[in-house]
């Protein structure tokens, strides 16, 4: 992340200077910072709503049932997560919400799933294999109906907006499956996580005290 952050900002400033767009780049800092807070704050209400709903779903055993239904799939995909972990149910709920295009529900539930995965994580600062896989599934953006795009097409008077549903679904399925595939393959060759970070942090805190 350090390199990405450095790269994005340095390249922007240098390229902005060459292009004579340095003012735009500087203004983008302000507008970007403002936008981030707007995005975060717009999440508060809907986040609270779905976290509340999910808590009821968990207490009444609904999530457990859903987790059991999709167990054959998740057992293979998330083989590092214990089968009875609440993370499995949350992942399933978040995936369904995404598939139906319920972005408002999908983000809070997805965050909750991440929190559950974090509990199993041996190094709290780095992403576990399960987290990388879950993120890959989310970035591929599997969705049955691209509602926003269809809305735009209807807006400009496109003759048959729904004809793009099938090709879009095909493309998003390809991207989704390949994301899972790649996550699984790369995981084998990537340096495994070590638990040393936690220990060294604790040591730091101990030495401070």
């Amino acid at each position: 992340m350090n390199y990405i952050f450095y790269f994005l900002i340095t390249v922007s400033i240098v390229a902005g200077a060459i292009n004579g767009k340095l003012t735009d780049v500087v203004n983008a800092i302000l507008s970007g910072a403002e936008l981030s807070v707007k995005v975060a704050f717009s999440l508060i209400g809907i986040m609270a709503f779905w976290l509340g709903m999910m808590k009821i779903a968990k207490e009444c055993g609904l999530i457990e049932i859903i987790a059991k239904i999709i167990k054959p799939i998740t057992k293979r995909l998330f083989n590092e997560i214990p089968e009875d972990s609440p993370a499995i149910g949350d992942i399933a709920m978040s995936f369904s919400a995404n598939a139906f295009g319920l972005t408002n529900a999908a983000t809070p539930i997805g965050i909750k799933a991440m929190e559950e995965l974090q509990k199993q994580n041996i190094d709290k600062q780095s992403a576990s294999n399960a987290m990388c896989l879950f993120l890959a599934m989310n970035t591929a953006g599997f969705q049955l109906i691209p509602a926003t795009v269809i809305a735009v097409l209807i807006g400009v008077g496109y003759p048959n907006p729904t004809e793009i549903i099938a090709p879009t679904l095909l493309v998003t399925t390809i991207a989704f499956l390949s994301a899972i595939f790649m996550a699984k393959i790369i995981q084998k060759y990537w340096n495994p996580q070590t638990a040393t970070n936690i220990i060294s942090n604790e040591e730091d805190e101990c030495s401070k005290q």
């Binding site: 009821i56 009444c60 965050i111 890959a136 095909l170 996580q193």
Partner: protein, 177 residues
């Protein structure tokens, strides 16, 4: 037919999930109101927790978009992509869609409004925008919420999947339209 089924499915998905959760909670004698408010308490905390991560990513991306480099990449790629029947208009979408969902949608609306609605560019753009999720945003929000700063291979996989999505969109569009 398929269309009406799908429309109804999306319309009813959310209400039925909520009904199912609440009804099952009532049947199982879960104190609905208490449990709901208890769960909802974390909403504010999570949203505030992700602010630093969002600021880092969104500011970086806003600067990147403002500096004009996306236009450069577009100009360099245009002749190569023209071989595969890719209109130059759609190139900014490919670059921007992993960075910013609203920007990708903006470019798409631009194309849809400025060119002939029945053109190939509109179809390709629609498929590319509809089949993608903003990788960097998802990364910032999901990992930010739990305080992950070492991404390992997560971004790599996300971007590779985006590239595969773009290639698939071009292929599918070539075959179908």
């Amino acid at each position: 037919m398929f269309q009406t089924i799908m429309n109804n499915l999306s319309l009813w998905a959310l209400p039925s999930i909520i009904l199912l959760i609440l009804t099952m909670g009532l049947v199982k004698k879960v104190p609905l109101y208490e449990v709901f408010t208890d769960g909802a308490k974390d909403g504010f905390k999570v949203a505030v927790n992700i602010i630093p991560y969002l600021v880092a990513i969104i500011v970086g991306i806003s600067m990147f978009r403002a500096c004009g480099i996306i236009e450069w990449i577009g100009q360099i790629c245009a002749p190569m992509l023209a071989i595969f029947n890719v209109p130059a208009d759609t190139i900014p979408i490919m670059i921007v869609r992993s960075l910013s969902g609203s920007a990708a949608l903006g470019v798409f609306s631009d194309i849809a409004n400025s060119t002939d609605v029945n053109s190939y560019a509109v179809k390709l753009a629609a498929i590319m925008v509809g089949s993608s999720e903003t990788t960097f945003y998802v990364l910032a929000v999901y990992f930010g919420a739990v305080g992950i700063s070492k991404l390992r291979y997560a971004l790599l996989v996300g971007l590779l999947a985006d590239i595969i999505g773009i290639v698939a969109a071009i292929l599918v569009c070539n075959l179908m339209f």
